[in-house]
């Protein structure tokens, strides 16, 4: 009887801790890449826009950070375009390659003044990019990342694993 009751209490504790409204929301958030961490961004007239974050990417599958900004001024709800990455993937004139973004310990990015768009209010985000889990080396076993990453693999086999909330910047 005591053993049964102990069993009951144990199961009750496990049940309470694994099934609640937060759990289902967490799962849905992961499916839809919900904004999960905050960043800061500020405009410096002499330098450009400095974006800073504090994130903990999964080292095993980490591919790099990407920086996004709204594609038009003065519209918080506009779509976003990539303006910073460790490979040359951007097509806009605001894009810049920054090899530091390949390093998981990087915590800031400077959007150089020379590549900034016209004056206005813009919104920035930081994306944590992961590699797809697949067979990169042809040994019939899935790998978490390629041993020699390159731009071609990056554009084909990466995805946004996490993304930050937006940070507003007034560019003058």
């Amino acid at each position: 009887m005591i053993r049964t009751l102990t069993h009951c209490i144990f199961l009750a504790i496990v049940t309470v801790n694994t099934a609640c409204s937060y759990t289902a929301d967490f799962i849905e958030g992961a499916l839809t890449t919900r904004a999960s961490f905050s960043i800061s961004a500020r405009y410096d007239a002499g330098t450009g826009v400095i974006v800073e974050w504090n994130a903990s990417p999964d080292e095993d599958s980490f591919a790099g950070y990407e920086i996004y900004m709204t594609e038009e001024p003065n519209n918080e709800f506009a779509g976003m375009i990539v303006v910073g990455a460790c490979y040359d993937i951007g097509s806009s004139s605001y894009f810049q390659v920054d090899s530091n973004l390949e390093n998981s310990s990087s915590r800031s990015f400077t959007h150089q003044k020379s590549t900034l768009p016209s004056a206005g209010i813009y919104f920035y985000r930081v994306g944590i990019i992961d590699w797809d889990e697949r067979d990169y080396d042809g040994d019939d076993k899935d790998d978490k990342k390629p041993s020699t990453p390159n731009k071609s693999l990056y554009t084909s086999y990466t995805y946004i694993a996490e993304i930050s909330g937006s940070a507003m910047v007034v560019i003058e």
């Binding site: 694994t18 099934a19 799962i27 890449t33 999960s36 905050s38 996004y68 946004i160």
Partner: protein, 447 residues
């Protein structure tokens, strides 16, 4: 598995149809402020409804463990939102996300000497449970449940990654609602089933940047208590109480089960359940579409002590019958209210029609293996609520709708996909979902 493979194309076609309906240009673009989501009493009803559905499944299939998750997306909510870029408000398309997770365990704390299994226990038509044995008669079972529902608006953000493609992300927008149930279940099999639990309602405001911190703050939580007592799986009484009043009560009678105690049920007779429900639905709250009693001297900022309440009484019956692989079910619900309701917009009295809702559905099971089901359901319905014209371009307060469901059941895993438009089940949970497409997926693991 062979049969499953044979029907995989049909599944794909239905899924494509569901997706296509979401991308047609007939979206309703009615702009409104999110409101009824703030109704914790209504949300408590919803989370309890799913709680009871899970326990019906657990008990009718003799499960010891049930883990269940449901994701529900309502598309095309146009919400007046403040744009920090323009410093103006504008209508922005949002998606209402509703997620539910549940975990329940049930195990014997007392088992008498083994007796003949009870043959009268009703069987879920979606699962004949050949993989599990019934509990011994006179067993005492103890169960625990933790489940929770999250509601909230999210905004989709398109991210152009240049040559790496385009992806999307989502932000929380506006208040997020978290409703949790913690319950204990005691069963004296097969005579008595008792559920006692608490519903915790919580609201969290997301950050301005679209993220949210899960701040568990007990001081912001409101509590409701519920009980359910079922005798011989025939007569069931359910109630929910807030701190100062009984919010709802529901009594139902499983007529087929009752008749089976005395006579053999004729083969042509469907399963019949009839019930009565009282729900304090209208409370002069800002999100209500009507004033109770009178509109004189009332406003959305009035003191709680001045608010009047009206009970909605409903009388419902549910019929179901199977003919081989074909399953049919229907329901009708009648209504009346015990106080005068005044439309907030026009100041005129609201006359509730006798019929609140009806639905009818038909399903076909593509599998014939015991314990395995692949049922395609289609159904139509009507629904009345005085808030329908508030949240849509309807000139009146009733609407018709449809739903399609694919239910896949195996002994240990179930999967379900549902698409609907103005489905009465959904509108009953959240009337703002009127004229919006809804997609829902759910899965369970059970032992």
């Amino acid at each position: 598995m062979q049969l499953l493979k044979q029907h995989i194309i049909a599944l794909k076609i239905l899924f494509c149809i569901c997706l296509c309906t979401l991308h047609t240009s007939v979206y309703a673009q009615y702009v409104y402020e999110a409101s009824t989501l703030h109704n914790a009493a209504s949300r408590s009803q919803t989370v309890q409804q799913i709680f009871y559905q899970r326990w019906d499944t657990i008990l009718s299939n003799y499960l010891r463990f049930d883990a269940y998750i449901q994701l529900n997306w309502v598309y095309d909510f146009y919400i007046n939102s403040f744009n920090r870029g323009t410093s103006n408000s504008q209508a922005v398309p949002m998606r209402l996300v509703r997620t539910f997770s549940d975990m329940a365990v049930l195990f014997p704390v007392y088992s008498p000497d083994k007796e003949t299994p009870d043959e009268t226990q009703p069987i879920d038509i979606t699962d004949t449970s050949p993989y599990r044995t019934p509990w011994d008669n006179n067993s005492v079972l103890l169960g625990f449940t933790a489940c929770g529902y999250h509601y909230g608006l999210t905004r989709t953000v398109e991210i152009n990654r240049g040559s790496a493609g385009t992806e999307s992300a989502s932000d929380y927008y506006s208040t997020q609602f978290f409703d949790d149930i913690f319950a204990i279940t005691v069963v004296l099999y097969p005579y008595i089933t008792l559920h006692v639990g608490v519903v915790l309602n919580q609201q969290i405001e997301p950050n301005e940047d679209g993220t949210m911190n899960y701040n568990f703050d007990p001081s912001t939580i409101t509590k409701r208590y519920f009980t359910s007592l079922s005798l011989f799986n025939t007569l069931t009484w359910r109630s929910t109480a807030a701190k100062d009043r009984l919010e709802s009560s529901d009594v139902s009678l499983n007529i087929s089960q009752l008749l089976s105690f005395t006579d053999a049920i004729p083969s042509f007779m469907p399963q019949i359940t009839a019930g009565y429900k009282r729900y304090q639905k209208y409370n002069d709250e800002p999100y209500d579409p009507v004033w109770v009693g009178t509109s004189q001297g009332k406003s959305n900022t009035m003191n709680d002590s001045l608010k009047q309440h009206a009970n909605l009484y409903s009388y419902y019956t549910v019929l179901s019958k199977s003919f081989g692989n074909i399953h049919l079910a229907s329901s009708i619900e009648l209504q009346h209210v015990d106080n005068t309701l005044i439309d907030k917009r026009y100041g005129q009295k609201v006359w509730l029609p006798l019929i609140r809702l009806w639905w009818i559905k038909a399903g076909y099971d593509f599998l014939e293996n015991p314990g395995w089901d692949l049922i395609l359901w289609v159904g139509v319905n009507t629904f009345y609520d005085p808030a329908i014209s508030y949240h849509s371009s309807h000139s009146d307060n009733d609407t018709g709708g449809w739903f399609a469901i694919i239910d896949g059941t195996s002994p240990y895993i179930t999967l379900s996909i549902k698409a609907s438009y103005n489905d009465s089940h959904e509108l009953d949970k959240l009337v703002e979902a009127v004229d919006k497409y809804i997609i829902e997926g759910s899965a369970s693991f059970r032992i």
